[in-house]
């Protein structure tokens, strides 16, 4: 055991002991001890006993079981405890420490080659799950007003109950504005890059400007474009076009210069024309750069469309919903929109990554080498 693992193990078992000794909750005004919650007590006793790891080896999966049991027990007890007291919070700390211990030991085991590498996927999932559990437990047991931060279960309930609204907003913002703007903006950036690539003068003149514009708060043009193109989705698509154009332009121009001199010379010895060189050598060599821009743009596009809706929309759309529901203090609906946006953003990004892996299969970062 490393020093860190020892420290976490002591924290975990110590928190179990503290949770057993301190008042666990307050029910109907009277303090309720741990004996009234047999399941939680069982978890805490098992956690306390795990201190035996200093004498006998304890499997790392046992820590995983403890963490899982602790999370389940605490979530179940959320509905029966009235107000959480110190004992509850120590139990939460204990469950979290066990999950950390599992993660710590698992990554060491993977490093030593004892455990399969694919199990490494468990680690980020554990992290996400612990955040959700702590969020749920802290907001509900801590009595955080749902107006500030609703519990994940509340948000989920809201998502399920207002699917039609969410779908309409998604259609308006994502399927219309984002996708149209993304394709037009990326396509235009790509074509302009190929056009100016033939002229060294334009390249020298436009590239520094493009780089500069990429650093600007372009989202600020949203009010102007909403004024020009009206309230419906075309104005949002226009914002997306402006936001995605420059990253694509700059990256494509850089990518077109990525092919080495040797390969270019070879194309020349083949007597390849400009277009042949472009399609057979330079565009494939530029693909990693182009996909870099496509990935950056996938997030930018969603942001641009949603922010543009703050400046005026018909009564549908994710940005519209977010800004009006904030005003009406329906924060759970706002979080539901955020969840949809995050999911859409991640999926969009994931799809671009999948296409990238298929197209640039030859690149070291895809072949398994370290980029």
């Amino acid at each position: 055991m490393s020093a860190l693992q020892k420290a976490i193990a002591i924290i975990a078992s110590g928190a179990c002991l503290a949770a057993l000794l301190l008042p666990f909750a307050t029910r109907t005004g009277a303090p309720a001890g741990i004996v009234e919650f047999p399941l939680a007590a069982a978890f805490l006793v098992a956690g306390l006993l795990s201190i035996a790891r200093f004498r006998v080896p304890v499997s790392l999966w046992l820590d995983g079981v403890l963490a899982f049991a602790g999370a389940v027990v605490l979530l179940v007890s959320l509905s029966v405890i009235g107000k959480a007291e110190a004992g509850f919070w120590f139990a939460l700390v204990a469950a979290w420490a066990f999950s950390w211990l599992l993660v710590e030991r698992l990554s060491h085991a993977i490093g030593r080659g004892v455990v399969l590498n694919t199990l490494g996927l468990v680690i980020p999932l554990m992290f996400g799950a612990s955040i959700l559990v702590i969020w749920e437990a802290a907001t509900r047991a801590g009595g955080v007003p749902p107006i500030l931060l609703p519990a994940p279960s509340l948000i989920w309930a809201r998502i399920v109950s207002s699917l039609p609204t969410l779908w309409a907003d998604f259609q308006q913002t994502f399927l219309k504005a984002v996708l149209a703007g993304y394709f037009i903006g990326c396509g235009a950036g790509f074509l302009v890059a190929i056009a100016i690539d033939r002229s060294p003068f334009l390249k020298r003149g436009l590239l520094p400007l493009g780089n500069f514009v990429s650093a600007l708060p372009i989202v600020g043009v949203a009010p102007i474009l909403v004024m020009w193109f009206g309230f419906d989705w075309p104005s949002k698509a226009a914002v997306v076009v402006v936001m995605t154009f420059f990253p694509m332009l700059v990256n494509t121009v850089a990518g077109l210069n990525a092919a080495g001199g040797m390969e270019r010379d070879m194309m020349r010895t083949y007597a390849a024309g400009y277009w042949q060189t472009l399609f057979k050598l330079r565009l494939p060599a530029a693909a990693p750069f182009i996909f870099n821009a496509l990935k950056i743009n996938s997030t930018l596009a969603l942001i641009g469309a949603i922010v543009a809706e703050f400046f005026g929309t018909p009564i549908v759309g994710m940005g519209f919903r977010i800004s009006t529901e904030v005003g009406r203090m329906n924060v759970d609906m706002v979080w539901a929109e955020i969840a949809v946006a995050a999911l859409a953003g991640s999926l969009f990004y994931g799809v671009v990554v999948l296409i990238e892996r298929a197209v640039t299969f030859w690149h070291p970062s895809v072949r398994g080498g370290r980029a």
Binding site: S107, H108, P124, L148, L216, P223, I224, T299, I338
Partner: protein, 310 residues
Amino acid sequence: MGKALRDGNTLPVLIVLGVLVVFWYLAAIWLNAPWQFGVYERAGTTGWGWTDFVRDTWSQERPVLPSPHQVMIELWNTTAAMAPTSKRSLVYHGWVTLSATLLGFVLGTALGILLAVLIVHNRATDRSLMPWIIASQTIPILAIAPMIVIISYNVLTGKNPLAEMLHLDADAARLVSKALISTYLSFFPVVVGMVKGFRSPEQIQLDLMHTYNASASQTFWKLRFPIALPYLFTSMKVAVAASLVGAIVGELPTGAVAGLGARLLGGSYYGQTIQIWSALFAAAILAGVLVIAVGVVERLVTERMGARPA
């Protein structure tokens, strides 16, 4: 001088800029023409000449597209020709935005470096945090910035232990809540860049530190940190621009009365296009100045550390 002009980027950039300005003037005539026709019709003016027409489209009160000189005059009037304390001064609004930007940038850079240190030194942190850090950026945080600003403002000024501990007045709370958005946007490039930077020492250099019996902290301060500095500055240039965007968007629909974002929103509500464009230019100038400032600090630091000028 002549050679620098011919071979450098200056001349092409200037020419492209000049072409853009010409296009802008032409576009202003074209876009403002319908309104101008309407004005002439209502006033009953007939027999107007082309020169009058062009001059009028370039000097409307609320043009669809203001001409460049209108924007420049507005910029001049609201900065140099006005007391910086005035509520209409862009210097005042720029400062409100800049303070949130800088606070968020400093917090974000510190957080980014801290996370990168944890990630480099602990494998469990690397495996559990890194995927979520990347996923965090696919969330359109800017889109929910207004809500985060409202919530954190309410938390910071409400009745709770945190607010009582910090004791912020309304302005400071508004500043901090905007800076949170900037922090969220600016920590990401720093984490990614610094993880790469901290891992850039070669094995042979790490081995040397090992033979010196250097502790982890000595290896960090004498090898990893200096070698990661170029990565830090590159990421900071990206981070400071992102931080400015965060501060501006954080000012949008929160009922904020000050800041460049509030100027944008106000201009859009009242159709004051010249005000929107001048706020936009002020933001662009601010972004340029911030990126250049980071570059200057970079040059000073690398020179001081004895690096060869690139």
